[in-house]
Amino acid sequence: MIIKKRLATGALGLLTALACGLISPPAAMAGEPAPDSPKVELVLDVSGSMRARDVDGDTRMAAAKQAFNEVLDATPEEVRLGIRTLGANYPGKDRTAGCRDSERLYPVGQVDRTEAKAAVATLRPTGWTPIGLALRGASKDLSGGEGTRRIVLITDGEDSCGLPDPCDVARELAAQGTHLVVDTLGLTLDRKVREQLSCIAEATGGTYTAIQHRDQLSSRIKQLVRRSADTPVQAPTPVAGAAQCAKAPYLGSGLYSDRETFGEHRWYRMRVAPGQELRASASVAVDRAVDPDYGVLVRAVTPGGRELVRGSEAGSGRTDVISSGLRYPVADVDDDEDETARTVCLELSQSFSAPASVKRAPGLPVELAVDVVDNDDPPADVAAFGLGRGWVLLGVLTVGGLLVGLLWGWLARWRVTVWRSN
């Protein structure tokens, strides 16, 4: 009897515990960050030139170390942070050896502050500046998972290795569809450094900052790390538009990314049921040097080739993106027969051009935001509910009322006269 009771108690407890485990929030079970938590890698230049004493009277290296310590203290819990160095180990003159010198100092993951700080403290300004190589390495370090990826590159010199060109490397990494952003921080105001770093930033949709003061360095890195924690995880789904509508991919609702080279037209398809409205916006980003005048055209076309509606935009000068959009409501049908969704083709083209020296591949980054929503409700009258407003309205109504009253009165008198005379 007692055993039975104990068994029952145990079973009940087990059940409760199980239920508890099942319904408890997922955060309780995961001691580590979720697989889609944002990843950031700090890439620090430890080349010989970092010895220069020009950041608030201190060496660039000392300023960077201090900034790293502050950043490590301020890193949000959900961010997985890693550190990579370039030019930290090989002090010699041999170019080949110097240009292979990039090392993962601290693996991307939840930060152990003491360990990471200790690793940073060992760094001494040493070797070459292989930026392209370091970017490739950092991209590998950040691979895997669904979260956003960000590289923060801190350097004081342009790439001293020539090949691979870091700007091309950045564009190539951004085109891999991993939604990688590279933010660059230059510790010197040198022209070449500025051009190279801003080119890297532009190629990935990142930012370039010129650092002159120590506090500026740490606050900017902190801001970038925080930004990657704030950025929504919803990265666009990669899609490849076709050269003609008949072969175009069907899009659902949401954000998509694609690439389109100069002079190319890309087609996509959507299904819109009667009583629904198609919404489509497209933006083409500028990730390289382009000519100063440009434009974008989005068209909604029937599979037969008839244009339904278009959105276009043109611009000139410095820009990060050019965008346009359209909406196409499909009228509701009365009978039940023709309720099948209609196919609408979307054509995207842009008129960007670039100097001959600029690489054509990969194409310019395209972002599509498409949605299908409830149909609009065209007004029966321009004014709300056909209501009137204003002194003219009041005057007209008053005079009209007066005239009707007079008429009615005379009519009544005339009728009375007729009745009496009869």
Binding site: R279, V321, D371, D376, R389
Partner: protein
């Protein structure tokens, strides 16, 4: 009894586990909303349409950035309102700059269509010695409906982009501070118009896997219909949108002061009608039928 007690203890433990687990999650959630639609003004700006920081009209949002960054914010505007944006930039030290620069404010609607500024100074050139520069843009009135071929502003999200468009190359990357404030002015009943559209408030979620054309025709149809059903359901659901719905709705409600004017007009017409009728009767003693006077004329 004992079983009950065990159950109670287990439940208490369970609740404790829940509370401890939920507490940081709740705190996270709070942190998250503070940056977005909370009461405090945001201190960061987004870097593209997708990551634009949400601001409320009347909030003064700030952001620290570098010269050359593209700063994005997004705010809601309802039908019948006239949205406007004003931004003030604190420029880098005059000693570190090498010349004048042109700063520009662009406003895009929820379909990412560029919206013209009806008034304001959307682009302004700052001379080298200037410490601050102010740019502003006031849009046309937001309509509650428009033809699909038109570029009229419609209710929904409005994106603000602030950047430098022309500068000496040496000044790229220098630190700046930006302050931006969106405002919405009610256009009043004179501009109350009819019709309605679903607000241009883009969804922020990854697209569903694109369907291939190689499959049978029925498959994409199924996908599309389920998607559209989803999106119809999601209108008030959990799908993240660019902006939250304003407290006073998206406008295009039934009320406008046109009702007052129209009803007042009707009352005046009725009074005038009674007055006109009375006039034809001429002066007479109250309560007496106007028989005699009528027959004498």
């Amino acid at each position: 009894m004992r079983a009950l007690r065990t159950l109670g203890a287990a439940l208490t433990l369970c609740a404790a586990a829940w509370l401890t687990a939920a507490a940081p999650a709740a705190a996270d959630g709070k942190d998250g909303t503070d940056g977005g639609s909370g009461k405090e003004a945001p201190t960061e700006a987004g870097t593209n349409f997708r990551t634009a920081t949400e601001i409320q009209p009347g909030q003064r949002a700030t952001a620290a950035a570098s010269t050359g960054d593209y700063l994005y914010w997004v705010f809601p505007a309802a039908a019948g309102q006239v949205p406007g944006v004003e931004a003030e930039l604190k420029l880098p030290d005059t000693s570190s700059r090498h010349g004048g620069a042109t700063w520009q404010l662009d406003v895009y609607d929820g379909l990412r269509r560029h919206q013209p500024c009806a008034s304001g100074t959307p682009a302004r050139r700052a001379a080298q010695q200037d410490r601050t520069v102010t740019v502003s843009c006031t849009l046309r009135q937001v309509r509650s409906w428009s033809e699909r071929w038109a570029n009229d502003p419609l209710q929904g999200a409005y994106y603000v982009r602030l950047t430098v468009v022309d500068l000496p190359a040496q000044d790229l990357g220098l630190p700046i501070d930006a302050e931006v404030e969106a405002s919405v002015r009610d256009a009043g009943g004179a501009h109350a118009d009819g019709g309605d559209v679903t607000p241009l408030n883009p969804v922020l979620r990854a697209g569903t896997t694109p369907g291939t054309d190689s499959g049978t025709d029925s498959e994409p149809t199924g996908d599309a219909s389920s998607d559209s059903a989803d999106s119809a359901d999601d209108e008030g659901g959990d799908v993240p949108h660019a902006v939250a719905e304003p407290e006073d709705d998206w406008g295009s409600g039934w009320w406008s002061d046109r009702w007052v004017w129209t009803v007042a007009g009707a009352a005046l017409a009725a009074l005038a009608g009674v007055g006109g009728y009375t006039l034809t009767r001429g002066p007479r003693a109250p309560g007496r039928p106007p028989i005699g006077t009528g027959s004498d004329i």
